[in-house]
Amino acid sequence: MNRPALRKYVNPQYLSDLPEGPCYDAGHLVTVNAGWRTRKPVLDSEACTGCYICYMNCPEGVIFKSDGKVDIDYDFCKGCGICGNGCPKDAIVMIREGEA
């Protein structure tokens, strides 16, 4: 997997620091984008078998594996709940933001 990493935004100092036209390297992430979320998916790693259907279903591409375990990038998760809805083991539950 080749997930784009969050980078620090550097203010351009010169006109030539801007790209020639509105075209730039894809995946240039400079801000997190999670503010829309009212509920967040929480993974029960005991119940999770690592089948990765959630990864296939996630429209935001925020699910990844770390040390062989499924994890969620909350910086970019929009809280849609599709991951939990499609989980065959019901290993992902949606929890209201701020409650957990």
Binding site: L15, E20, P22, C23, D25
Partner: protein, 397 residues
């Protein structure tokens, strides 16, 4: 060596496009541009142009498709006229802002209403601010040659700006002349393939045609503006390179005719310039000190060239085949702005003529020079006058 053929303006443009080796052609036929689309469709059919010909359902789609093709790095051609051009208006801004170096021919034609299929400059002049380089050609040979030059200018990495090649509807699109068709190998030497990093590419993915916030929109627009200004330097340079390969030259942004010691000058755009030169020759023989300044490029605007050519003359008539309702002719506004900035104290009159295909005759052009002399002789002149007006202007009109 290439070959010579008897071609109309539309066919000459089609030959220029063939020699430019485009990857994609997306155009919708409209009078008086139809022939260029027909010829290109035939060339794609017989294999002499190895391009994808996209059959689109409108001009808006034609230019949208052209942008899509340009976004994968394809050399792209379109063409339109009049109502089709204004139907593209949204996409014209999109293409220039996106820095897609599309080349498009426009057959200059009147805008409705009243409906008219005949020529004037109201279509393209009303879109001067859409961010496209605008060149106006005078004959079929220049039209062919400018297609090759247009790609060289548009695709320059410091320009990346689309070019609109304007041909007077019917007068230029439909009249035939002997045209030199350049050799394929020479065309390759002049115009290398289009290379850009601004393209959809699986190996180097790009975020294209994105938004901006108020914090950086001005900077993007300034870069776009500077790209157009860079084209100013490149236009003459490109023409010089063209001359060294093909032996023909059109000069830079303007072309001055007998202006050196002239006192009265007519400023013209497009094919009517030929008639202006003929009248200037006749008047010269009669002892008048007259000249003609042809504006080839309306954008980028040749401010310095106009100032240099006109600052020491006594009077200037600007011939507009357009009208900006509620003010004056658009060419006049631009020329007047340049001369005013130079502080030149010159009598400047605006003549609006040729609307909806009305002929501009030698008599009309004589009348412009005569009005300038009258003005210098102290006979009051209206700032905006109308050539060949068939009726008298009355209070109730």
């Amino acid at each position: 060596m290439g070959q010579r053929a008897f071609l109309c303006g539309n066919e000459a443009v089609a030959e220029g496009v063939r020699l430019s080796a485009p990857h994609v052609i997306a155009a919708y036929p409209i009078t008086p541009q139809t022939v260029v689309v027909e010829r290109l469709a035939e060339m794609v059919e017989d294999g002499s142009v190895k391009a994808e010909f996209m059959h689109v359902e409108s001009e808006h789609s034609a230019l949208s498709a052209s942008m899509g093709a340009s976004a994968v790095g394809a050399r792209t051609f379109s063409s339109t006229s009049s109502q089709g051009l204004v139907y593209m208006a949204e996409c014209l801004h999109y293409a220039s802002g996106g820095r897609f170096p599309i080349v498009m021919m426009n057959a200059n034609r009147s805008l409705a209403l009243p409906w008219s299929i005949y020529g004037d400059h109201r279509d393209s002049m009303s879109l001067l601010d859409c961010g496209w380089i605008q060149v106006y050609t005078e004959d079929a040979q220049e039209s062919l040659d400018m297609v090759l030059q247009a790609y060289a200018i548009a695709e320059h990495p410091e320009v990346l700006t689309p070019v609109m090649i304007n041909l007077d509807g019917f007068v230029l699109t439909h009249t035939y002349e002997l045209v030199d068709i350049p050799d394929w190998e020479q065309a390759r030497e002049f115009l290398p393939p289009y290379e850009t990093v601004n393209k959809l590419d699986f190996d180097a993915p790009k975020n294209m045609a994105f938004s901006s916030n108020p914090g950086n929109n001005l900077e993007f627009k300034l870069r776009q503006h500077r790209g157009m200004l860079r084209a100013k330097e490149l236009i003459a340079e490109t023409d010089g390179r063209f001359q060294s390969i093909f032996g023909r030259s059109y000069g830079g942004l303007t072309e001055a005719y007998r202006c050196d010691d002239a006192e009265l000058i007519v400023v013209s755009v497009g094919s009517v310039t030929g008639t202006c030169r003929t009248v200037a020759d006749e008047l010269r023989n009669e002892g008048w000190k007259v000249g003609v300044l042809k504006i080839r490029f309306m954008r980028p605007f040749p401010e310095e060239e106009i100032i240099a050519a006109l600052r020491n003359v006594k009077a200037v008539a600007v011939l507009d085949k357009d009208i900006s309702f509620g003010y004056e002719g658009t060419v006049f506004t631009n020329v007047n702005s340049a001369l005013s900035k130079a502080g030149a104290e010159i009598l400047k009159l605006n003549f609006i003529g040729g609307l909806g295909g009305r002929d501009i005759s030698k008599d009309h052009i004589r009348e412009m020079y005569r009005r300038l002399q009258d003005g210098l002789d102290g006979i009051a002149q209206e700032n905006v006058q109308y050539l060949g007006l068939g009726v008298a202007i009355d209070e109730r009109g």
